[in-house]
Assembly symmetry: C2
Homo-oligomer: 667 residues x 2
């Protein structure tokens, strides 16, 4: 880290602390209900501090992304090279292009679709199969009640402003992005827009006040028009509502994990950054249900020794950068809240790096306290660095009991787990027994409200009442449904603690949720896999994707060296055996030079090429080294199979077969 | 076929012909614009014939489905047994059950989800990989313009009636289902509802007139509320709009096929029949683009000798039943329109039977002429018989150039293919050259309309005009935009045929579309795979799914015979090697009797069970035969792997390893 970056990080940390302190001050003032003017002054100070903090962040970002303007130009140029290749080779296509497209919707073309399906197959192998997860598949169409319970109907919003003349919509925070104002309320944002004199970018017309726009695609289920529904914004809710059945399926035992892969939808106000912020995307989510009192994990030891870039809250606050930490250390020190969370962080690291994500551009960043939902115990994002900066690609959160409780409450179906005790345990239980006859005499028509209020007392309140009744014989009691105090006498209620034998513990499990944005991972993988190298003649730059075999859209191409029937027959024989072995491949019988044909498949990230230059033996070329070996026709498919399904590496193959010098074939 | 069935089929065929003849009569009368009363009388006769036809159909259906009431009771009972097992073992779950569910939405629970993902993986292997198809992945959210072009916005409707008091909606044809009236218009259905005095089933209130209800889920794209969108009703449109790019990707060569797997949505008025008619479902669709002048297929010979149940139009019309036909014969006789269509019928047959669909309950039924869209060249449905009757599970249609033309017209982007001639060909081209000066003098402000009408003449019209002008010097010409005749003189237009050299042929490809309803196939597979057998003690009936390994949700279970640490350690070792081999499996260490544990996994359709009864060797049991072999611990995983991935069959395994007599272990 150079000197500028170092001092900027320190300055940022100081400012961050100042913002937090001032934020606390504002909250105290609000709680103390001091004069409005005083609160407003404190908020002004807070916003000024935020602005200063944002300015430092901007400088830091510029410094990190390659030391100023030059770096960002390079990033732009690199991104353009990648995106050009991706679009030209149909890795992805703007959807409905012949109708001028729709912002934020993309198709995966043939190689992109194959990469996606390989990533998902590997995800299933790495998580579902290896961890014995219960995979489910729920619909995208979701009735309102479910998303009301989850909070999405009320809170899944972005602040929007409208051009007051044309009605064009903008995301309020995008218009203010140069001012780096985080976490402002609608009112605060509105005030800033006025203060800075911000107008609609296209027309210079005045803007409306900011208001929340719900990001879910709304629809209507059934013909009546009376059942609102939404396209799910995440797949998780489908798992939560099935908790009871899944727990039963797992033999009523914890822990267990359920998983789901599927489409999710967000009606972004203004989609941007290509594949990174889109309106429809594939999520792969895991909900691991665990006893809140025991978050250990039996396979934790398998990942504890992994060491990789972590960026704990502490380091972010004190202006340091991400650093290599042994996962086991982070867990034992309590930086990572618990073993299960740690286990999944480790598994996510292995998943991403095995896909081909560069481990130097992958970090696990802990959420700051103010970033996390109030119920979350801890939360880490796997962030991958690409030309757009550090992108959140996987969120790994300990969401405690929040989701199951929310659905329990709304549905009335208890989503709980049971722990049977080997022997019954004695527990003390609070018993509040209102004497209805006396209460009826005293309160007549209000009796029911008084009874309910008495029964609703918590342990502390009840024990205080008991003490007061025993000493004074009478006590004033506020009945909120009556909005007044009533007088409770000793004969009106019995309060006691009774010993009881319990045979089991009933509790709401905690859920640890690793949630994968598949499209974002794939885009970052495209950038991390892309490189350019000069052609043999040195007259042009050739594009290559260095996808590992597990990800490569096609595993192998078959090229007859020249157009001739004999070679083409051999190519067909090899193709047949590749198909039988389940290896996706392509025959290219165009008469183009072999060098051009290699370049063409390098650009698709095909790891191996079989060139037919005789009818008994052929060459196999590896994409990145361009090394070639010579094998018999009959062996070709099995060599490619072993090198693509993980049984062996190219190094193994290289040491087992005679080498072939490419001679003049490469160009 | 018994006598009743035979005579019913004959009667049905006669009635069907009478209906067709009367239908033609009605059309002729309408075209001839005869008096309204006459048309109405003819329609009345037509409807009476339809009613008679439907009554025969009903009798026939009863006869076929197991000879009357008894048969249908058995079917109901069988279905209940299957569905109970499926729901109890969480193959599927009514979605959002804790909120009392939503009609027509289902979740796949763990085993169902695994079956589905296996079916899709096999589909990819069988079609995409083996045929080198271009797989794409397009969004579900679709802008209106695309579905306007495809016809869905205007025509993807069912007729609905409303309870006039409560507003409850019904599908009009469901209310009339006892009268078997097919293909009635909204007016005809409304008249029948009045005629038969049909009221709302729940309230007996009067019903509204029938009106079309669009079955697409509507939504709005972006924040403005001004861009209507729909959840796609099929995946095909995503492929058609990408034709140009995909054709280029394929080296501008025909034929090629594109494929897509994904969710589709239909907002059914009243979903029914469990998994068979749902509001969200997975489709797997192929669009094979081919030169309309050459629909041969290079791999056709590989399927030509397949023989299976086909039900050509002819046989349906003449009251026969489906019969075994060699595919090659159906194609060569022209029963199946072309080789490519025939090839896909054969591939679909192989796909379904390899999944485990019973070939005796699978037939390919050709659409009757009046069932097919006007543009379709030929269409066959793969129908699978289950307890609900014969269910359409795959549609295989030659849709000619319809879809590409529709999108060409709406988008203005030509979705065409080019055939380069090896040598330029001489063609005659019609040239119509209006002489604008003369036309301007003669028609002033109407000149433009006259010019356009002249240019729009087809070859026949133009050559007739040329002849008339040459003989008479003047001709009357109807200009439709002016709604009148004008007089065209010889000096106003030159019409000629010019010889031209063409270097290529430009044409719109035909598309052959196999479209798979994955959920329907899976449901039928569940029924075809289910059977019951007595427990060893004979005291209960046990459920079994005889899934082939490729489909089975879990390939193998591992059971320590008794609860003991030594056996559990061995089980873990085997589990590890199964995971490494990529075989989904489950360890069951409950102390339940081994017979009960076998029964439990038989009910999930797990093909193999490894029982650990020593630390050196174990037994492997096959589900359906209950035969057991003995293998060394180290070999267990590889034996299961070879028997599940198709390298070997259980018969091979059985002949290669020592047999184990189950003794008392089974119960």
């Amino acid at each position: 880290m150079d000197a500028t970056e170092d001092s900027l990080r320190k300055a940022l940390a100081e400012k961050q602390s100042a913002v937090e302190a001032q934020g606390n001050a504002v909250r105290s003032l609000k709680a103390a209900k001091v004069a409005k003017a005083e609160i407003e002054a404190a908020i002004e100070t807070l916003n000024a501090l935020k602005l200063e903090k944002s300015s430092i962040e901007r400088q830091l970002q510029a410094a990190v992304s390659g030391n100023g303007p030059d770096g960002s130009v390079n990033r732009e140029a690199f991104r353009q090279a990648v995106v050009n290749t991706l679009e030209r080779r149909l890795f992805y296509i703007p959807s409905f292009k012949i109708y001028r497209g729709v912002a934020g919707l993309y198709d995966y073309g043939p190689p992109g679709c194959a990469v996606k399906s390989n990533v998902l197959a590997f995800w299933r192998q790495h998580f579902v199969l290896e961890e014995n997860m219960l995979e489910v598949d729920c619909p995208c169409v979701t009735p309102e009640v479910v998303l009301k319970a989850s909070g999405h109907v009320d809170k899944f919003t972005d602040l929007m402003v409208k051009d007051e003349i044309t009605g064009t919509c903008y995301r309020a925070d995008h218009l203010l992005k140069d001012f780096f104002l985080d976490d402002l309320s609608a009112e605060e944002l509105g005030a800033k827009i006025k203060e800075y004199g911000i107008v609609a970018p296209d027309t210079k017309n005045p803007l409306s006040d900011p208001y929340p726009f719900n990001l879910m695609f709304q629809t209507s289920i059934g013909p009546s028009g009376l059942s609102p529904g939404y396209m799910r914004p995440e797949t998780a809710q489908g798992i939560f509502v099935n908790f009871k059945d899944l727990y039963y399926y797992n033999g009523n035992k914890l822990p267990f994990a359920a998983a789901q892969i599927g489409q999710a939808f967000r009606n972004e106000i203004s989609p941007r950054q290509g594949l990174l912020r889109v309106r429809e995307f594939t999520l792969a989510e895991i909900e691991h249900f665990v006893d809140p009192e025991d978050k250990s994990h039996p396979k934790y030891c398998e990942v504890a020794d992994l060491e990789f870039l972590m960026f704990p809250r502490e380091e972010q606050m004190s202006g340091q950068s991400a650093k290599r930490i042994r996962l086991g250390e982070a867990v034992s020190k309590g930086t990572v809240n618990n073993e299960t969370l740690g286990y999944f962080i480790g598994r996510v690291y292995l998943f991403l790096t095995r896909l081909g994500i560069d481990k130097e551009r992958l970090r696990f960043r802990q959420h700051l306290t103010n970033e996390m939902a109030h119920y979350a115990a801890d939360c880490w994002d796997a962030e991958i660095e690409c030309s757009y900066g550090w992108i959140e690609c996987v969120g790994i959160a300990d969401r405690s009991a929040y989701d199951l409780r929310a659905h329990t409450e709304k549905s009335g179906v208890p989503l709980v787990a049971h722990e049977k005790f080997s022997e019954p345990r004695e527990v003390e239980e609070l018993v509040i027994a209102p004497v209805k006859k006396e209460l009826g005499l005293a309160f007549k028509g209000n009796q029911k409200m008084v009874v309910e209020s008495l029964e609703a007392m918590n342990e502390k309140e009840a024990m205080e009442m008991k003490a007061s009744l025993e000493t004074k014989g009478e006590v004033e009691f506020y009945v909120c449904t009556l909005e007044k105090n009533v007088s409770i006498k000793k004969n009106m209620v019995t309060i006691s603690k009774e010993k009881k034998k319990e045979h089991q513990r009933v509790f709401t499990p905690s859920v640890i949720e690793p949630s994968f944005g598949i499209g974002r991972i794939i885009y970052c993988l495209f950038e991390h896999s892309f490189y350019m190298r000069p052609s043999k003649a040195g007259d042009e730059q050739l594009n290559v994707f260095r996808f590992p075999p597990v990800v490569a859209p096609i595993k192998c191409t078959v090229f007859p060296l020249v157009q001739n029937q004999q070679y083409e027959e051999v190519a067909k024989v090899i193709s047949k055996s590749l198909t039988a072995a389940g290896i996706s491949h392509k025959i290219d019988i165009t008469g183009t030079s072999i060098g051009k044909r290699y370049a063409r498949t390098d650009e698709l990230g095909v790891p191996f090429a079989i060139t037919v230059d005789s009818s008994s033996s052929v060459t196999i070329r590896e994409r990145d080294s361009k090394d070639q070996i010579r094998v018999n026709v009959e062996e070709a498919a099995s060599v490619v199979k072993s090198a693509t399904d993980g049984q062996s590496t190219w190094d193994d193959v290289w040491s087992n077969f005679p080498h072939h010098s490419s001679g003049s074939t490469e160009d």
